[in-house]
């Protein structure tokens, strides 16, 4: 997905002279085309994330449309206060492209995981949070960010994710229905979508499957329309089970007194010491296709 996003931005940079791409010494091979085409509007800031975000704000305040590329901890965690004060507080249209969502980089260790980024980003007013489920959504997210007058955070895994949508995706600001179903709905975002798709193939009764690429602001009224004939919602995300989509839905259900049963799947809120690859990690935390299948069957009362 990272390539889809960067290619889209590169294409746009040919038309729009205000696009500026910066990195904090990350993105080996990914940014070469952009850099070659627009060297005067590209900069590697080095391993200095606080300065990188402050700089991005200064460029943005001077009229540039800035895209910052780095792995999630280095666009959001190390420099959280710069994101808060320099970008969101002043509502500067900077887009943070965070790579390595969830446990994509297993087993590189906790320093390189991003399992609490949505929880953090949700505390920032003005910030739009996008987590595309496949390369089609990723391109749409890039297009949204290009046009946005607000700051945007795009959360993506890496490269090589398959396309999950068979039809066109018109609008990523609303929930995107992957397939219809009755009684149970699976809501998901990000690269863990492949596990959802594969779980759907192995169940007797197919639940409604809905990708939710825009997590903030969430279009609750569209969501409620999509969930009309639903009694149980299952949220699936490669993020801490507390603080992400599951929590957003839980807060909504409570504040609106809605009558849904909610099953939240995600990574247990703990420092991860398990050593395994991405698939093994998903399996360990119950967000592999098997875990999702189990939750679906339980939701239909067969589990």
């Amino acid at each position: 997905m990272r390539n889809s996003v960067i290619e889209r931005i590169t294409k746009e940079a040919g038309k729009k002279k205000d696009i500026f791409l910066i990195t904090g010494d990350a993105g080996f091979g990914v940014l070469d085309n952009y850099k070659k085409s627009f060297p005067e509007r590209f900069l590697n800031l080095g391993v200095a994330e606080q300065n990188m975000i402050g700089m991005a704000s200064g460029l943005g305040l001077s009229g540039f449309k800035v895209f910052v590329y780095n792995i999630v901890p280095f666009v959001l965690y190390r420099c959280y206060e710069q994101v808060r004060n320099d970008i969101c507080y002043q509502n500067v249209p900077v887009t943070l492209i965070g790579i390595g969502s969830g446990v994509t980089y297993s087993p590189q260790g906790v320093t390189h995981y991003s399992v609490e980024d949505i929880a953090l980003a949700r505390t920032l007013p003005n910030l739009v949070i996008l987590s595309p489920s496949d390369p089609i959504e990723a391109v749409k997210c890039a297009e949204y960010a290009i046009k946005s007058k607000d700051p945007v955070y795009i959360r993506i895994a890496k490269s090589g994710e398959p396309v999950i949508h068979t039809g066109r995706v018109k609008d990523i600001t609303r929930p995107v229905v992957l397939n219809e179903g009755e009684g149970v709905a699976v809501l998901f975002h990000g690269s863990v979508s492949t596990e959802v798709v594969s779980a759907l193939k192995g169940v007797d009764r197919r639940p409604k499957a809905v990708s939710v690429p825009m997590l903030q602001p969430m279009d609750f009224s569209s969501l409620e329309k999509e969930l009309k004939a639903i009694h149980t919602i299952i949220t699936v995300e490669e993020h801490f089970v507390e603080g992400g989509l599951g929590s957003i839905i839980a807060e909504w259900i409570v504040s609106e007194r809605l009558d849904y049963r909610l099953i939240k799947l995600g990574i247990k809120n703990e420092f991860i010491h398990k050593i395994t690859n991405n698939a093994g990690m998903r399996s360990h935390y119950g967000i592999s296709s098997e875990g999702i299948k189990g939750a679906i069957e339980k939701a239909y009362g067969n589990g």
């Binding site: 300065n51 402050g54 700089m55 704000s57 200064g58 001077s62």
Partner: protein, 272 residues
């Protein structure tokens, strides 16, 4: 440009600014009067003798940019912006009061000449570096001026920005350090010694000068000797609480707002 203000004019403006700061702080029981008093001359020098800014056209894209990175000295900034016509008397009356307009750390308001939201130390120089880079890419002539505190230089982010600006030779960036030698809990030399400060900046690729931060002749001389090849810093030797004898060099006045009696005593000194 608001040039042509003589040293004598600047001195009388500075005196009015100090009285205005005293009023603001006393009336609202705000902190940081000492940190504001030490910045008065550099702010007056910039706003009345250097910056190409105008209250009649505050959004002009060609304007110079000033960032008060030590946002806690906002009462000095507000007082100078009022003298310069960016803020009205009513704006000042709405400082730090219920339903007010101006906070105790600046919030970006371009129409009122407040370029960037500050208050957390270690942010302003990076933002300024971004603006300086933008101006270079856009081939614009405007300058970016950033005022930092000495305690602020404890922040690692400042040195990230220093390295960056030095490497990219952002000669349109001018930093000032309000080196009053007192930070929140004591003397800088006892907490994190900054010396040799000008050598540190030089070794990061900056053109570094020092000046008496309360002497307009020295400030103007430094502003007239800026490098056109490298980013510039002027380290201003200043006195915390400058202008009121019982506040000078006293840590207490980082926090304390004068009571009625202290206010009267301070005003008497400033009216001399």
């Amino acid at each position: 440009m608001a040039d042509g203000y003589s040293v004598e004019n600047c001195l009388s403006i500075s005196n009015r600014v100090r009285r205005s700061i005293l009023d603001l702080v006393h009336r609202t029981k705000s902190p940081h009067i000492g940190s504001s008093f030490s910045t008065v001359e550099i702010l007056v020098a910039l706003y009345f003798n250097r910056l190409n800014v105008s209250p009649d056209d505050p959004l002009n894209p060609e304007r110079d940019r000033f960032i008060l990175s030590k946002g806690h000295a906002c009462s000095a900034l507000y007082a100078v912006l009022a003298e310069r016509g960016f803020l009205s008397k009513e704006d000042l009356e709405l400082f730090a009061v219920d339903g007010g307009r101006l906070e105790q750390h600046p919030n970006m308001d371009l129409g009122r000449g407040i370029e960037v939201s500050t208050g957390s130390l270690g942010h302003g120089l990076s933002i300024g570096a971004g603006m300086a880079l933008a101006a270079k890419v856009d081939k614009k002539k405007y300058g970016i001026y950033v005022l930092l505190s000495d305690g602020e230089l404890n922040e690692g982010s400042v040195w990230e920005a220093l390295m960056f600006a030095g490497h990219h030779r952002l000669s349109n960036l001018v930093a000032f350090v309000d080196f009053n030698k007192i930070q929140a809990l004591g003397f800088t030399k006892d907490i994190i010694d900054l010396e040799p400060l000008d050598e540190k900046w030089r070794s990061f690729g900056w053109h570094a000068q020092t000046a008496d931060g309360h002497d307009f002749e020295e400030i103007f001389a430094a502003l007239n000797s800026l490098s056109t090849e490298k980013p510039n810093v002027v380290i201003l030797h200043t006195i915390k609480g400058r202008g009121v004898s019982f506040m000078e060099n006293k840590l207490l006045w980082h926090y304390r707002a004068p009571d009625d009696r202290e206010y009267a005593d301070a005003l008497k000194e400033l009216l001399k």
